[in-house]
Symmetry: none
Subunit: 213 residues, 2 copies
Amino acid sequence: MLRLLQAEFADVTISKIRFLESEGLVTPGRTASGYRKFSAADVDRLRYVLAAQRDQYLPLKVIKEHLGAIDRGLSPAAAGPPVAPSSLPQTPGQPVADDFGAAGTELRLTREELRSAAGVSAELLGELESHGLVVARGNHYDGDAIVIAKVAADLAGYGLEPRHLRAFRTAADREVGLIEQVTGPRRTEQTGELAALTVRLHTALVRSRLPRP
Amino acid sequence: MLRLLQAEFADVTISKIRFLESEGLVTPGRTASGYRKFSAADVDRLRYVLAAQRDQYLPLKVIKEHLGAIDRGLSPAAAGPPVAPSSLPQTPGQPVADDFGAAGTELRLTREELRSAAGVSAELLGELESHGLVVARGNHYDGDAIVIAKVAADLAGYGLEPRHLRAFRTAADREVGLIEQVTGPRRTEQTGELAALTVRLHTALVRSRLPRP
DNA sequence: CTCAACCCTCGACCAGCGGTTGAGGTCCCA
DNA sequence: TGGGACCTCAACCGCTGGTCGAGGGTTGAG
């Protein structure tokens, strides 16, 4: 069976297969005396693993998850290729990464810098400020303001204007209030962790309540 | 510009970017005094690199080839996912993390499976249900329920119990209500996009309102 | 029964990737 | 003119994905 796979994958060795087994990617049967006995299904599985490594460069951890998904009757989500650069309208992107750790020095943008970084009109920005969505700290704005302004601009494209977004502000305020009740008003190690958790909770709740596809 | 990318990719650091430059993946301009000066195109390029790493697990060597191909006007060959072994019932995948795209077949877990997947006590799960945080759909639970239950368990470690989390439920309901006002009660292409946007808005708002480090 | 050719396990070791760290120095503007 | 942000370069590091070898059992041909 080793020869069989070697026909297809040049660099497979016994030790590699043993290693893959030790990582839980295959679990061949055993003979009475302890020799491995590979079924056709085991060989298919190995083929899948080796192909995923060679052709998709996937790390074993991810391949293992895929196999797990396949076992449970799902098919692994194959992330498409990222959007090529130099196509400018990048805005509708991934949700913001859940990083609430202590950022280094904060970005300090002037109002004009913020406007151009987010690509929003002065008018929209004004509205966002008057509804308390974007706030300046001593006449400078930080990186979150960029994200907020960009998203607000996108939402405007769906007919949602700043005034419709006030509820988000109050929800966020309440969320932060809750966090501060737990960790106190000063920023600590826990503050970021807690924020990451609550935001995850929020995200999952929203998703779970969306109409089913 | 570092902060700009950090909004999208949590773990980018200055040293990482310098490393990427040393590997020839970006070549930002320099000021007279030797400081790096990143053009919008450079930032796009970095975005591409980081997205490829995070979402496709591509090694830098491969990403570099892709970039080279793009520069020469080609589009990078994206290897499709390998053929699944032993062709089990192929159903579209489980939504990963913050993916609001049209999920295919949902995960369907029994209560007990959910409990063990999330690692929570029957008691906690009961409370979560009675507060409407976790809901069964015809006595099965989906993947979001796992996330919700796990996070709730973590939050319990901070003294936040299910009853403290009701506000999250109502906030999520309102958010979904708003989305449905725009896209209608049926799930469409837009529903997911809009949800991703609002969740991003929420996240950025929370972060912006956290006490400064 | 014996011997060669396999197979097993387990722990030590290893190379490369993808960065991080720190020392030593420059730049710049408040 | 002080301090914070930036520079370079070399050393270091942790993790992944294995390989190697010692020590020992199994199998089948002769």
